[in-house]
């Protein structure tokens, strides 16, 4: 499952899934892609403001990983979480309305793009402090263990977060206390403009994780099949009750870090090379080669995604503003 993160060939090979499942995952990747493209457009149009971090290029990770979880599991994510929220089951309209800052958004416009929360699907945010979600995930794991609940907590974070003290303290606590936490490291090689090798003395993040006495797996994050299969294995191990597992998803973001990034820190050619490994077109090609996907199938699911996006935007546009009189709502429960 190890890949050379920089210059791996595009993912190929058989897809061990039935057509229905394969198309579902493909459709989810396309849904994310279309939603993100629209978000970028809406940012340009001033409909979405603040910081906006797109998941374009990384779709295989959230989709492959989240489909390996059950509805009882907890999710903790970062500010780059639109895709996770969507795949986890949040309504795209509620996501879009939140990014518009509308009352109909999941947090009534209080949170915005970086803070999508959804109690129904156990999405505990949307955290915009790098590494900030890791201790929370440990605690959610602790709560599940103490209450004998059969749920794990999947915590998504980037390669940049690995340098934070929070990473260290959290991995140690989870391993020491044998908590049901799945650490999902989305290694896209950059934390903002800082390349991994300029951030870590040890760039093999699995070696770092393993130093906590925790199983650590790495996978080609552009290959949704590999992502899903390895995550299933990892989930099984976590559910066995022997403690946390770390998975490094080796991926890449095709867009800028946020909407304010001149991308001085990487070469256009590098981005282009990675695009040849794009998770959607490579997976589509594999499915087509196996006869599990026709061009019509793809067009249909793409059209559905676009329709969903249009509906979500319409929903957000039609949304209302939280009354200013309610400014102080939800600071405290009572």
């Amino acid at each position: 499952m190890t890949v050379d993160h920089r210059a791996a060939p595009p993912p190929t090979g058989p897809v061990p899934w039935d057509k229905k499942f394969a198309l579902r995952l493909l459709a989810d990747m396309v849904r994310i892609r279309r939603m993100e493209e629209k978000s970028a457009e809406l940012y340009g149009a001033g409909k979405i403001r603040g910081f906006l971090h797109l998941y374009i290029g990384e779709e295989a990770t959230a989709v492959g990983a989240l489909h390996a979880l059950s509805a009882e599991d907890n999710i903790v994510a970062t500010y780059r979480e639109h895709g996770h929220a969507l795949v986890r089951g949040m309504d795209m309209g509620a996501i879009m309305a939140e990014m518009y800052g509308k009352r109909e958004g999941c947090a009534h416009g209080r949170g915005g793009s970086m803070h999508l929360f959804d109690k129904a699907t156990r999405l505990f945010g949307g955290n915009a402090i790098v590494g900030g979600g890791l201790p929370l995930a440990v605690g959610l794991g602790l709560a599940a263990k103490m209450q004998n609940e059969n749920r794990l907590t999947a915590c998504f974070f980037g390669d940049g977060a690995v340098a934070e003290g929070a990473f260290h303290e959290s991995l140690n606590l989870a391993a020491l206390w044998k908590l049901p936490v799945l650490f999902c490291c989305e290694n896209n090689l950059y934390g903002m403009g800082t390349a991994l090798e300029r951030s870590e003395s040890q760039t093999d993040l699995c070696v770092k994780a393993a130093s906590y006495n925790m199983p650590a797996l790495k996978v080609d994050g552009m290959d949704i099949v590999a992502v899903h299969e390895i995550t299933k294995q990892a989930v099984q191990r976590v559910r066995a009750g022997d403690g946390p597992v770390f998975v490094e998803y080796q991926t890449y973001r095709f867009r800028a870090h946020s909407m304010f990034d001149a991308e001085l820190y990487r070469q256009k050619a590098e981005v282009e090379e990675w695009k040849t490994r794009g998770p959607i077109h490579t997976f589509s090609a594999r499915l087509k080669a196996e006869g599990k996907l026709t061009e019509e199938d793809f067009l249909a699911l793409d059209a559905a995604a676009n329709a969903e996006v249009d509906a979500a935007v319409a929903f957000a546009e039609a949304g209302t503003w939280e009354p200013v009189e309610d400014l102080l709502k939800d600071v405290h429960t009572s």
Binding site: H115, F117, G125, L136, V138, M146, E169, S170, D330
Partner: protein, 324 residues
């Protein structure tokens, strides 16, 4: 009827009661278990409740406070002990950026029913890195409640309502009070909403909290001997401040001194003075004065430490200053 116990025993009893009453409650922090609690607050708990519920943590303040927040999100009712406020600086990100914000950022979907306890204050010659009084900092943050039990009753009674609160509550326990003894009435009741008058008086309101309360009461006695009848108000709840009770005392006495172990500039005392200015300016017969810590890292040497902190004599002098 009443019985006699000290502050430490009172808090210990409160925790014991909570642990017995609710299986979701657990205590976690550095050396709360095997060591018996840094200040012996949890002595014997490990044997009684086991290592799952009396959970010793590694030295990872950011991590375990964050974990307590997560556990609260996950349905537990953690009491997390940060050994002292000094080390809480390492955990502030989780307290301010997670615990305090989650309810609001999630549009009311998630709340964090967590109690954070920490020792605060100086007075034991522990020097600059172990003597902070940062209650005022915490009281600045929307989304958390801040308590400062300064009596046996409050040490005994504030924990239960704090645990019942669906939102994060920070409790500051001043190290100078731990061995203080007092009588606890059998029918005590304690809320976590109001300030309380600890000594009635009519000439000046001495407004304080935590470890400075005994000093304020001592000052009031000294003042009484010279004919000044001081009221002593214990803020008790530092966020949200009980403005009405403060103003009642100040309006009555028309003079006030605020006593706060925080460094003067930017102290909680300043906030109390600002509120007095906003609310009862025209009822003041003199500007409100304050007695705070001097603007110096707290020194080790006893005479310097004493000089750096509020003391009854300084309070007396400040009160006299109002009448001169």
């Amino acid at each position: 009827m009443s019985r006699r116990l000290n502050y430490r025993e009172a808090m210990r009893e409160a925790m014991h009661e909570a642990l017995v009453a609710d299986p979701r409650v657990f205590l976690m922090g550095e050396d709360v278990g095997m060591y018996g609690g840094t200040y012996a607050f949890s002595k014997g708990f490990l044997d009684e409740f086991g290592p799952e519920r009396i959970r010793d943590t590694p030295l990872s303040e950011l991590g375990f406070v964050g974990a307590a927040i997560g556990a609260a999100l996950g349905g537990m009712r953690p009491i997390v002990e940060v050994m002292t406020v000094n080390f809480s600086l390492l955990a502030l990100d989780q307290i301010v950026n997670s615990a305090a914000l989650y309810r609001h950022m999630s549009g009311g979907q998630f709340s964090v029913p967590l109690v954070i306890r920490m020792t605060t204050g100086a007075g034991r010659q522990l020097a600059a890195q172990h003597s902070h009084s940062l209650e005022g900092w915490y009281a600045h943050i929307p989304g958390i409640k801040v308590l400062a039990p300064a009596t046996i009753e409050d040490a005994r009674g504030m924990l239960a309502p704090a645990l019942a609160d669906p939102d994060p509550v920070v409790i500051f326990e001043h190290a100078g009070l731990f061995n203080m003894e007092g009588d606890l009435a059998d029918d005590w009741t304690v809320d976590i909403r109001s300030a309380t008058v600890r000594r009635e008086g009519k000439d000046v309101a001495i407004i304080t909290h935590g470890g400075s309360l005994p000093k304020a009461l001592a000052a009031a006695e000294q003042l009484a001997a010279t004919g000044i009848d001081a009221e002593v108000l214990d803020l008790r709840v530092l966020r949200p401040l009980d403005t009405a009770t403060i103003m009642a005392s100040v309006s009555k006495c028309r003079h006030a001194v605020v006593v706060d172990e925080g460094w003067r500039t930017g102290s909680l005392a300043a906030e109390v003075m600002a509120r007095i200015m906003e609310n009862v300016f025209y009822e003041l017969d003199a500007p409100v004065a304050r007695v705070c810590s001097e603007e110096v890292p707290i020194p080790y040497a006893k005479h310097l430490e004493e000089a750096a902190l509020p003391q009854p004599e300084k309070i007396v002098a400040a009160v006299r200053g109002l009448f001169s």
